[in-house]
Symmetry: C2
Subunit: 133 residues, 2 copies
Amino acid sequence: MRTRGEVMQSKILAVLKHADSALSAYDILEALRDEFPKIAPPTVYRGLAALTEKGSVHRVESLNSFVACTNHNHDHASIMSICDDCGSVEENEAPKIFDDLSGLLGKTGFDAHRHVIEVHGVCAACGDQDNAS
Amino acid sequence: MRTRGEVMQSKILAVLKHADSALSAYDILEALRDEFPKIAPPTVYRGLAALTEKGSVHRVESLNSFVACTNHNHDHASIMSICDDCGSVEENEAPKIFDDLSGLLGKTGFDAHRHVIEVHGVCAACGDQDNAS
DNA sequence: ACGCTTGCGTTATGTTATAACGAAATATAC
DNA sequence: GTATATTTCGTTATAACATAACGCAAGCGT
Ligand SMILES: [Zn+2]
Ligand SMILES: [Zn+2]
Ligand SMILES: [Zn+2]
Ligand SMILES: [Zn+2]
């Protein structure tokens, strides 16, 4: 049974792509409830796990939530900038920072496998708004 | 009323300092249950919030858990290296990386307030062990 | 067709975190 | 010193996030 799972994954991805901020698994669940009235958490979490594995979706650790990837050409992790005002999450590329980090930790004998870099603050749009008011 | 809260905070901090890995709020709760049989989650969470505010404790976002600060002289955030094998969490200093990050995001108009940098991997001790075996 | 493997939906439960309220401690006013 | 306002904290209850375990059904080799 291949198709059923892929259908669910594409539905989940579509929900995330149409969102303007990170969504929790339960936000996604609610969004899919119309079409799949009996949907349950493991269905969503399994879809998210598969999508995360593929790199189509990223988990935002500091929000316990998920975003669709907006930059499909990255071989390394992204830097997430998270606006605490409007909730927007942007992916930023910065290979150099990952190199620096690996270098720094390598000196201590630490072998890095997965990087979590999430910066909270205020995005350009919200900053402008605050200035204007 | 100052003392009552500070007693609980120091107990929580002591538990974290004696742990060899990050602890969840509920791990701490269990550890304090002997001395405070009726302790409840909000008591632990309030203590942790106060300690985090002071900088004595850091939350590890990607583990939903907490560690005692091991480097009391930092004005900026730390880089946490987390061993997925033994669970150890180390604080690493790297002001330059924070400067680079702020610089990078500043160019996009993002105003950074709080940095989360957590690197998962295998620590030196666990790496050696794996090699030996 | 038969038995094997794999993936998925479902039920149930485990784990993490906070809202809300009332009692107790502290401070301020008189 | 008593009354009143303010803050802090314990407690109960519940919300939010996540996974274990089971069983069915699809796909596959024989
Ligand atoms: Zn991406
Ligand atoms: Zn914003
Ligand atoms: Zn520290
Ligand atoms: Zn280790």
